[in-house]
């Protein structure tokens, strides 16, 4: 297990500054966060798998931005905000009625919590908040069927009722980057309620360790002996929104209590490369410790490290069979064969 404190001690040795006379912990932390973003951006190795229940579960629904600071856990922004009067409203006729007596027909119910969409015909789309560190989608499926990305404008151009249409999900779109949301199109026509998920306070806790009814189950097998064992989690994709995505690395927080937590988003063998990039920044900063020669040395180490990771990624394809065109040749014989050593003589 590697923690930020371990890494900090190691870097302070190379900085020859164990008492923080030049670079304090906070400065190194900021450089670390910058450095890991650079490495992640250049190698793109951090991929995560998540399975979300549908409808998604949130602890709190809120209407106003100021409410965010008063809540804890996962939150969902419900209803609509009318910027003209800074008011929250349910139905589109409400802003119109405020100015004059207009009556815009509406398409369905409004909901405060996403689970309500399972009990009526919602009049608006359901935005599903993605993982906080979601960066780029690699693959997305709903109920074990692949769904493809489309721009909202493309969907709107071909379907006037795309906001309320229900049926088999074929596509998804991302309404805006800031919200980090995803919307399924059409809205799932049927919902299979997973009772186990109601017991969870937070959808992210679906990666529990015991329940086999939840999204992810965990099991430790009899092979787990000394260092030849294997522990694995399984991801349940049935009736769930499943995605593989590139993720941004989690930041080391300002709170020093978290500095003894494991840095789990990087494999431990890549953490030294983040340290090299951090040291490069420390020696390159405009402080009394500015030493160009050492900055260049650690930059060289960083570059070699990045090349090493790239080579490592290429080697992951060692077992691939490549062929230009045509169908893959059968590895196994097409003809029936008796087992080796048969008949016994």
């Amino acid at each position: 297990m590697t923690t930020f404190n371990d890494s900090l001690t190691k870097m302070q040795r190379f900085l020859r500054d164990p008492n923080n006379n030049i670079w304090d912990d906070e400065q190194i932390r900021l450089y670390w966060n910058q450095a890991q973003l650079e490495i992640a951006d250049k190698i793109g190795l951090i991929e995560r798998i998540r399975a979300y229940p549908y409808p998604p579960i949130y602890v709190v629904s809120y209407m106003w931005d100021w409410e965010i600071a008063q809540t804890e856990g996962s939150i969902y922004r419900c209803l609509n905000n009318w910027p003209t009067r800074d008011m929250t409203f349910c139905y589109p006729w409400e802003p119109g009625y405020y100015l004059s007596e207009v009556s815009v027909p509406d398409d369905g119910y409004r909901f405060l919590h996403p689970w309500e969409t399972g009990y009526g015909a919602p009049g608006d789309v359901l935005r599903i908040g993605l993982h906080q560190k979601f960066h780029k989608m690699v693959f997305c499926a709903f109920d074990e069927r692949q769904i493809h990305p489309l721009a909202e404008r493309e969907i709107a151009a071909t379907d006037r009722y795309y906001k309320t249409k229900a049926g088999e999900v074929t596509n998804y779109y991302r309404p805006d980057e800031y919200g980090n949301d995803i919307v399924l199109y059409p809205r799932p026509g049927s919902i299979t309620w997973d009772e186990a998920m109601w017991l969870l306070d937070d959808a992210s806790e679906a990666f529990g360790t015991e329940s086999t009814d939840g999204i992810v189950s965990y099991q430790e097998d009899g092979f787990d002996e000394s260092d030849t064992g294997i522990i694995w989690d399984t991801v349940d994709t049935d009736e769930n929104l499943f995605m593989i995505f590139e993720a941004l690395p989690d930041e080391i927080e300002e709170d020093t209590y978290t500095w003894d937590d494991e840095i789990s988003w990087w494999p431990p063998y890549m953490i030294p490369i983040v340290e090299y990039a951090t040291l490069e920044r420390c020696y390159g900063a405009d402080t009394d410790g500015f030493i160009p020669s050492l900055r260049d040395y650690w930059e060289l180490r960083k570059k070699i490290g990045i090349e090493a990771i790239k080579q490592f990624k290429n080697k992951r394809l060692t077992d691939r069979d490549y062929q230009m065109g045509g169908t893959l040749k059968p590895v196994r014989s097409k003809h029936p064969r008796l087992p080796a050593g048969y008949p016994a003589t």
Binding site: K10, F14, R16, I46, E47, I49, V138, F139, A141, E144, R145, Q146, D221, F223, D224, S226, D227, T228, G229, I230, I231, W232, D233, T234, V235, D236, T237, D238, F242, I244, P267, P268, Y269, P272, I291, S293, L294, D296, Y297, W298, L300, R301, I304, G305, A308, Q311, F312, K315, R316, L317, T318, D319, R320, D321, K329, V331, R332, S333, H335, R337
Partner: protein
């Protein structure tokens, strides 16, 4: 202190019998030990020279497996073998699966292909219909850091010299001598000669044209003759 640490200390001018700065304990050797451990990890990562065999019991209807290893760090798979059917699983990826079989997540059957996702996930196609199979995985792994004199150092002999040189390089960097640090770094890279020293480089079979010589294909051909 182990042989690698002794050699490193000698190269930086430390008396290993009566150490002046780097005392023979965990605290005294922390800098050198850390550098050696990092060097081992990086060399194993690049060369893929350290492998282990792991057994993955498949579970009914489960397609994705997150692999947490107790011993070493999982790198990647070089061969996946179906113990039940005595057959090799082909490596693939999500994009290829989407093209070949858009319903790949719904298929149940014998495992035929596998794919990596990120650095700790493994996907199996097709997902098993019963929990009755074990996949044997030949994996490149990165050794965990050793922490005492008696812990084994999991590194090929050919890379030991380069590891020591990398540790010496980091020592000079820690003293502020960037010039000597860079010089030792270059020497280490030269000594490692990663491509030519790769253990499997001389053990491959090359063929121009025709089919790749799978053992089964050759046996069948001779049977027909």
């Amino acid at each position: 202190m182990n042989d690698l640490e002794k050699e490193t200390l000698k190269l930086i001018g430390e008396d290993t019998d009566s150490p002046d700065v780097f005392s023979d304990d965990a605290t005294g050797l922390a800098l050198i030990r850390g550098s050696i451990n990092d060097a081992i990890k990086q060399i194993c990562m690049v060369t893929g020279s350290y492998k282990k065999k792991y057994f993955l019991p498949l579970r009914e209807d489960c397609q994705f497996y997150r692999m947490n290893w107790e011993g070493d760090y999982f790198g990647y798979i070089v061969q996946a073998w179906d113990r039940l059917r005595h057959t090799k699983l082909e490596q693939t990826d999500v994009i290829k699966l989407n093209v070949e079989d858009p319903w790949w997540m719904q298929r149940n059957g014998y495992p035929e292909q596998y794919f990596h996702v990120g650095y700790q996930y493994l996907g199996i196609y097709m997902k098993p219909s019963a929990s009755d199979n074990v996949i044997e995985l030949d994996c490149v792994v990165i050794p965990k850091a050793y922490s005492s004199d008696t812990d084994p150092v999991k590194l090929r002999e050919a890379f030991r010299r380069a590891t020591v040189q990398l540790a010496v390089s980091e020592y000079y960097a820690s003293t502020g001598n960037a010039e000597r640090a860079t010089s030792w770094l270059n020497l280490s890279l030269q000594t490692a000669g990663l491509k030519t020293l790769h253990p499997e480089a001389q053990e491959q079979r090359f063929q121009f044209g025709g089919y790749r010589p799978y053992a089964t294909a050759r046996i069948n051909r001779s049977d027909n003759l």
